[in-house]
């Protein structure tokens, strides 16, 4: 029961961020559905956000944190991720309208 009595530090948050980042990267690499790739992108950005917020947290590192910068960067990342998801979804819908499928393996018209 040691984990329940010891305080957590920045390294714990970084591990969580790493897991989400790797999960998102694997998702981007392996999914055939274009929307699955989009979900991988969201996971990657979230993993990075967890890192930013952990470094900016006054609670986890009272003296040596990056303060408000961490939270503000996380804020901007969230907003830009939403914008990017909107555009990516519009592109995917266009692709679906033209090819009637969202399988990324079928998007090979410009191939070689």
């Amino acid at each position: 029961m040691n984990i329940f009595t010891e305080p957590v530090g920045v390294s714990h948050y970084l591990v969580v961020g790493a897991v989400m980042f790797v999960a998102g990267a694997v998702c981007m690499a392996t999914k055939r559905n274009a929307l699955g790739v989009l979900m991988g992108i969201e996971l990657v950005l979230n993993g990075a956000n967890v890192n930013f917020v952990a470094f900016g947290s006054q609670y986890l590192r009272p003296g040596a944190n990056i303060g408000l910068d961490g939270q503000l960067i996380a804020l901007f990342v969230i907003v830009l991720a939403a914008a990017e998801a909107a555009v990516a979804l519009a592109i995917t819908l266009n692709f679906y309208n033209n090819h009637s499928t969202v399988d990324v393996d079928q998007a090979d018209e410009l191939k070689g």
Partner: protein, 197 residues
């Protein structure tokens, strides 16, 4: 017995949920379930933000990410699914390659995260964080009021306001709104099925 540290308990709970459901997103092949697991993973991440003292970012994560971006993704899933539960499976060879690359990346990140001594957990827990949303608002308007509390004069000079990025992001969102609406306008389809809302 030592007193139980509730912050750590909730951290473990939220982080297990977030990591577990992120892995579930990767491992499942049903696109709707993937979206649902992603919703839970991002909501748990918001809980992690609240625990780290970033209340505003946590609330924003729920409102924009979970309540906006993922609703958008689920709409996309509904609009592009031909059959009700469509599955696109990945070949086994790709899975093995992805696992090797992902695993090695994870090992590198894990060793980097746990080996830096200044990132380890502290022994005693300080008082609760005092960041209010006022400071964030003032920083977005260009006035870094938390610089008043910064002891080191070098750091104090380096804290800049965020007014310009704020304006850029506002214009950016406007551009994205118009662009996405234009890109996704209704057009003739190649072999359309009778999908309509």
């Amino acid at each position: 017995m030592e007193p139980i540290n509730w912050h750590s308990v909730f951290f473990m709970l939220f982080s297990l949920v977030a990591c577990g459901f992120s892995l579930a997103v990767v491992l499942t092949s049903n696109i709707v379930r993937m979206a649902f697991y992603l919703v839970i993973a991002l909501a748990a991440t918001s809980g992690l933000f609240f625990l780290a003292g970033a209340d505003f970012v946590g609330a924003m994560q729920i409102m924009i990410y979970v309540g906006g971006t993922l609703v958008l993704l689920i709409f996309g899933v509904m609009l592009t699914a031909k059959g009700p539960f469509i599955n696109m499976k990945t070949a086994a060879g790709e899975w093995i390659l992805a696992t090797i690359v992902g695993g090695s990346l994870f090992v590198v990140l894990l060793s980097a995260a746990t080996n830096v001594p200044s990132w380890q957990a502290l022994d005693e827990r300080p008082a609760e964080a005092q960041v209010t949303a006022t400071r964030l608002g003032m920083a977005l308007m260009g006035a870094r009021v938390d610089a008043l509390e910064e002891a080191d004069p070098v750091t104090r000079r380096g804290l800049s306001g965020y007014l310009l990025p704020f304006e850029i992001v506002s214009v950016h969102l406007l551009v994205v709104l118009i662009g996405a609406a234009y890109l996704a306008r209704p057009k003739k389809r190649a072999r359309g099925s009778a999908d309509s809302l």
